[in-house]
């Protein structure tokens, strides 16, 4: 009996440990029945909301591509195809768009996808009491919608608005149910009701979102090879912020597909050598990884200095050594996939001698410590570098080294997102290194429209009436060839003014197990998984 208490103590401790580990478990594998075909996808972050109208984040649209549908669909090549709208026409003045809707489309709560539903969705976005995300910019100049008949809706704008045709095919303007949404309050952020091949069934914060197959889906989406419901029973989108862990899950089979975002490029070679996996890469639309040069702050307020920087940076070295297969050399403020501009690729070829000559002509003579001087002042440039917590972006450090060879003392202002934004709003540095995804050439409006100085995203602080005129013209012209010509002129003007250093046209990369078939992507490079099967 003397030993009873110590033994009891040990037993209690061991029992306590087991109870804590087992008893606190909040979930267990489902028992019985055939396992549903589940595709588990690893994402780098959790979306702030799944409400397409409210979200400022691309993650939202990756998840709901197969939940909420659009009037039009833009395929990976950029071609616009009918989706919930069977056809459309544009008024001669370019201010009104009339969509004829399919009559067999229903939201998963049974409400019809009709003209009133389209109007309700768009009116909700511009409602001043609603905190809209990227959707508000997509409806720039919205003047209201008119229900012409139950399945015909006219969307009106104050000014001609050609980019609307691509924006209406983007995730921000995907449609959710006017029947359920007003009744569900904040729950719309976690379980929006769409008309697509999947329904959001479960949302576990900081863990995962589960979509289940919409068995009542009868149509053939424009991306699909077949009519009717999706190929898998469930899609589980898991949030795995740590890149190394995310990669491990696809290698072990815990996930079948992962986003390669924020993963070191060096990992790609190893994954490509793994026979159980395949790597799918697609070019992002919009602006490349780009250094916007602040044209208001010395010394980048001097055209010759900006041109010297463009000649003096070896962009191929950035693409090869930092991106290693995750991008190609950029030539212009829009990626070559978005708007091919071969002439601009020939401009500003890496030429350190020409860069040095331009600086010499401008009075910046080589001084002590390999830094150029003018009127007793060193040639110092401050790069605004966003720091996500793991140090400087490697491309910024490479640029710093290349500029030093040119005699430019580039200082990296490495900071977290809040002060990084603040400096950009105030044109306080010589410009940030950033990127911008846009499905239309009109993305140049956000980057270089004079009204966006001090806001998002004209961080070159560039205000040029001639450029503003071309931006307005690009919104008014509908003919694709003429539009191309306008935006090519605009890009040429921007590069003549040397307002930015385009660095790398980045690729969207997904790593997928070979058991997963029939993945496809939309123009935004978001995976479209309605056709996927697992074998």
């Amino acid at each position: 009996m003397k030993y009873a208490r110590p033994r009891l103590t040990v037993l209690v401790l061991a029992g306590l440990a087991l109870v804590s580990l087992a008893g606190l478990g909040v979930g267990a594998p489902a028992a019985g029945g055939a396992a549903p075909a589940t595709l588990t996808v690893g994402l780098d972050q959790e979306p702030p909301t799944l409400d397409p109208a409210a979200s400022p984040s691309a993650v939202t649209y990756q998840i709901i591509t197969d939940v909420a549908e659009n009037l039009l669909y833009q395929d990976l090549g950029g071609k616009l195809l009918p989706w919930l709208a069977s056809s459309y026409k544009v008024s001669p003045d370019g201010k009104s768009f009339t969509f004829t809707l399919r009559q067999d489309a229903k939201f998963t709560d049974g409400a019809p996808v009709d003209a009133a539903a389209v109007k309700w969705n768009f009116d909700r976005i511009v409602n001043p009491n609603f905190k809209a995300g990227g959707a508000l910019a997509s409806l720039s100049g919205y003047a209201g919608s008119t229900v012409v008949d139950p399945y015909t809706v006219q969307v009106n704008f104050k000014e001609p608005y050609a980019p609307f045709l691509t924006y209406v095919a983007g995730g921000t303007l995907s449609l959710i149910s006017p029947k359920t949404t007003p009744t569900q309050g904040d729950a719309v952020n976690q379980k929006p009701v769409g008309s697509g091949r999947f329904i959001v069934s479960e949302y576990v914060p900081k863990d995962h979102v589960t979509l289940v197959r919409n068995a009542g889906y009868t149509r053939r989406p424009p991306y699909s090879s077949h009519q009717g419901p999706a190929g898998v029973d469930r899609i589980v989108w898991k949030f795995i912020p740590e890149a190394g862990t995310r990669v491990t899950t696809v290698e072990s089979g815990e996930t079948q597909m992962i986003s390669f975002l924020s993963t070191p490029a060096a990992e790609l070679t190893r994954l490509q050598a793994n026979r159980a996996l395949r790597v799918e890469k697609n070019p992002y639309p919009g602006a490349p990884r780009i250094w916007l040069l602040n044209v208001r702050k010395a010394p980048t307020n001097d055209l010759k200095v900006r041109q010297a920087i463009l000649y003096g940076i070896n962009r191929a070295a950035v693409a090869d050594s930092v991106y290693r297969g995750l991008g190609t050399v950029a030539c212009a403020p829009l990626t070559q996939h978005t708007l091919a501009t071969p002439a601009l690729c020939a401009k500003y070829k890496y030429d350190p001698k020409k860069a040095a000559q331009l600086l010499d002509e401008d009075g910046w003579k080589m001084g002590p410590n390999n830094v150029r001087m003018k009127n007793g002042q060193p040639l110092t440039i401050e790069i605004n570098s966003i720091n996500y917590g793991s140090g400087n972006l490697p491309e910024v450090e490479l640029i710093q080294g290349q500029l030093l060879q040119l005699g430019v003392d580039a200082k990296i202002k490495s900071q977290a997102r809040p002060p990084w934004y603040e400096d950009n709003f105030h044109c306080a540095t010589n410009g940030p290194v950033m990127f911008l995804r846009s499905t239309d050439w009109d993305g140049l409006f956000a980057l270089f429209g004079s009204q966006n100085v001090g806001g998002n995203f004209n961080w070159s602080c560039y205000a040029n009436p001639a450029a503003d005129k071309l931006i307005a013209e690009g919104r008014a012209v509908f003919d694709p060839a003429k539009r191309r010509s306008v935006y090519t002129q605009l890009e040429t003007m921007l590069m003549d003014d040397a307002v930015a250093v385009p660095l790398v046209d980045e690729l969207s990369v997904w790593v997928i197990r070979n058991t997963v078939h029939d993945t496809t992507y939309n123009f935004s490079t978001y995976p479209v998984l309605g056709d996927v099967t697992i074998k």
């Binding site: 003397k2 934004y421 603040e422």
Partner: protein
Amino acid sequence: MARYIAGRLLVTIPVVVGVTLAVFSMLYLIPGDPVKMMLSEFETNPAQIARMRAQLRLNEPFVQQYGQFVWNAARGNLGESIRDRRPVATEIRELFPSTVQLALSALIFSIALGVPLGLLAAIRQNSWADVGAMMAARIGVSMPSFWLGLLLIFVFSLQLGLLPATGGGGIDHLLMPAFALGAGAAAITAALTRSSMLEVLRMDYMTTARAKGLAGAAVILRHGLANALIPIVTIFGLQAGQLLAGAVIIETVFGRPGIGQLLVAAILNKDFPLVQGVVLFVAIVYVLINLAVDVAYAAIDPRIRYG
């Protein structure tokens, strides 16, 4: 006892006031306009900016704003997350159980491993068992938890395929995060148990117990460990706080839901109400844990007088 607890509670008041002041001042310590930064991802108009400013009471005097913040917090109203658009208190309430599950499992693991290891090292002082146990403890304490976490994922998920690397859920999702988080605490517990036990073993009452004819194990456990536990219990309080802090890293490494991951995401997304709410909540939990330890300390050691 009640007077002692009341006294300790009184002492925590200035600490909690200090915490609320520090948390509230965050909004003022960052450079620039907080509203503009919070809404930088959104398309906003001046009316929305004005509404947000009014919602955060930024137009009112500092003292008034602070008073309102404390009053709201005391009623459980920590504001609304800007990015997630949900009440901060709701987000904390949803995720805190998962963090507690992780921290508690790590704590129990650290006790279950650390105490026996320290005990073994003490009673077999200067033997191979002692050297081995203390070497394991030093390795444990010097190994960063995130690195150990990645190592565990590499071995048990990728190479052996035994455990899932990510997510919340059942015990299989908990084992590796709990081990990674608790390893450092186990090492500290082992070292402390050893030194505390060595001290106790030299005491006269231990000799007396042996002289009375008690068997070795009973002397060690009932007379030795019971007395050696006092400083160890104190360290549990500190460790509980550190485990909550460590959960920030471990939850991110293992993609596990919890307030650690919530805090990291809030910081990265400049979601100030959420950062304020989580920091305030964790700080108060930390204060309460230390209070509980102080009370337990007094209860375990009869030499400590209440009052």
